[in-house]
Amino acid sequence: MSDIAARVKKIVVEHLGVEEDKVTENASFIDDLGADSLDTVELVMAFEEEFGIEIPDDAAETIQTFGDAVKFISEAA
């Protein structure tokens, strides 16, 4: 796993209180990992903080899965 993926996974595990093995490529934050809309706002903020990037609202809306997050951050960072 890439360094970025490992760091994203750590944030997801911490914020959503889920087991690490549940955070798979296609795992949806809301449908599979128990997040609500406020959790996803907080997750995006945590990604911004961790990677020193800015994720605009319209881009944030496209980040629905763990894989989406890793892909977006890899391209932005």
Partner: protein
């Protein structure tokens, strides 16, 4: 009018997490005070307080993991955590976790706080200053709002009845229990989860109360002696933290399900001082009228009261309350016992009235009045027995609990043993 009884108790206090653990230490005359550990207190005047004993959950310590999952806890200020812990205890104690629609619709929640998420408001203000407004957590507002204890408890248990929260400073807990009892009397609910919670031990909380000259400042060398209601050497209150929650239930509802009944809410009185933002009037008129209203509602005479849990914060106002009680009681003052349990646990602000109502309920159950510790040299000669330094075994059929708050907001509860 429908009768209201108490069928469940829960508390987190500076003496312990848990009702029985707190009560036994209170009766033994222990103090919950010590140096502040919750934050770096080196810049505030008062560097001691009554803090909840955090730990692994054994021996009366408070383990946050026992009450809220870490991922949920991260999203709330501590006053919500404490309120949730006390509410879960009370609900379990009452054995009231209805799974049916009707039971849930007929159960409400009214748990308040005096100040709410003070710490998270302060921390978020600093965050905005340092990193800008875009870094504010989406959980800041729902984690700091006072009525979110009631909201969180209702979500956890599915209680869909009235959902409300009292905010009347140091009278919050007593007002919550009294108002919730009235909702049951009026038929808006059959069961109410009621009480108060507070987490004011932070730099902003201590600095704020220091600024209005309310806190004890002179006992850094011996914090356990700092809270000393009625004593001539008292110099202000000692900040506490925690929560108290009771389950109130309509009497026939409780009887029908064979619930354990601790006590009955016999009376509730309220008044306003219309005098000063932080001080009571010299004649204690507001407190007097609050007590008189509660007794009138209960249909009792002052001479019927056996035990009074005083507001008694260890400030100059102690003797004003004492005077009002003695005026109300007249010759019956010689037979009653009054104590301030704030001598042991400090002042829990919005939680105080609920925790102290629970102490009254346990006094009724065990026929013992908890002591006023550190009362070595009374500032005045009282007619009432103030239970100095030692619990008093005695007949207690009726107990009265006083709570008076900044702004001149007063509440009194009359609680009694259930007969028939």
């Amino acid at each position: 009018m429908r009768r209201v009884v108490v069928t469940g108790l829960g508390m987190v206090t500076p003496l312990a997490c848990g009702v029985e653990e707190t009560w036994s230490r209170l009766i033994a005359g222990q103090s919950g005070a010590g140096p502040i550990t919750r934050f770096d207190a080196s810049n505030v005047v008062t560097q001691y307080a009554c803090e909840i004993p955090y730990g692994d959950g054994s021996d009366g310590t408070f383990n946050p993991d026992d009450w809220m999952e870490p991922k949920d806890r991260r999203k709330v200020d501590d006053f919500i955590l404490y309120g949730m812990a006390a509410a879960v205890q009370a609900v379990r104690d009452a054995g009231w976790e209805p799974q049916d629609k009707e039971g849930r619709l007929r159960t409400g929640v009214m748990i308040g706080s005096g100040i709410g998420g003070l710490t998270s408001i302060a921390e978020t203000a600093v965050l905005i200053k340092e990193k800008g407004p875009k870094r504010v957590s989406p959980f800041f507002i729902p984690g700091a709002l006072i009525n979110l204890i009631s909201g969180q408890v209702s979500i956890r248990f599915g209680f869909k009845g009235p959902n409300h929260a009292v905010v009347t400073a140091c009278s919050t807990g007593a007002h919550a229990i009294g108002d919730a009892a009235r909702l049951i009397q009026w038929g808006d609910a059959d069961v109410m989860i009621a009480g108060g919670a507070e987490s004011p031990i932070s730099e902003i909380g201590i600095a704020g109360f220091n600024a209005c000259k309310a806190l004890s400042t002179k006992r850094g060398d011996d914090p356990a002696k700092a809270s000393r209601p009625y004593d001539s050497d008292r110099d202000g209150f000692v900040m506490g933290e925690g929560a108290g929650v009771v389950v109130l239930e309509e009497y026939e509802h409780a009887k029908a399900r064979g619930a354990k009944i601790y006590a009955e809410v016999l009376g509730y009185g309220l008044s306003g001082d219309a005098y000063h933002i932080t001080a009571p009037s010299e004649d204690g008129d507001g407190g007097y009228r609050s007590m008189a209203a509660a007794l009138k509602r209960a249909g009792l005479e002052p001479s019927d009261v056996d035990y009074i849990n005083a507001h008694g914060t260890s400030t100059m106002a102690d003797t004003i309350e004492l005077g009002a009680v003695e005026r109300l009681m007249g010759d019956a003052a010689d037979k009653a016992t009054m104590s301030s349990t704030k001598s042991s646990i400090g002042h829990l602000l919005g939680a105080a009235g609920a925790v102290e109502a629970i102490f009254c309920i346990l006094a009724l159950r065990d026929q013992v009045a908890p002591p006023t510790i550190n009362l070595d040299n009374p500032a005045v000669t009282p007619r009432l027995d103030l239970a100095p330094n030692k619990a008093v075994k005695r007949k207690i059929d009726v107990a009265l609990s006083n709570s008076f708050g900044f702004g001149g907001t007063n509440a009194s509860l009359v609680l009694g043993r259930v007969t028939g």
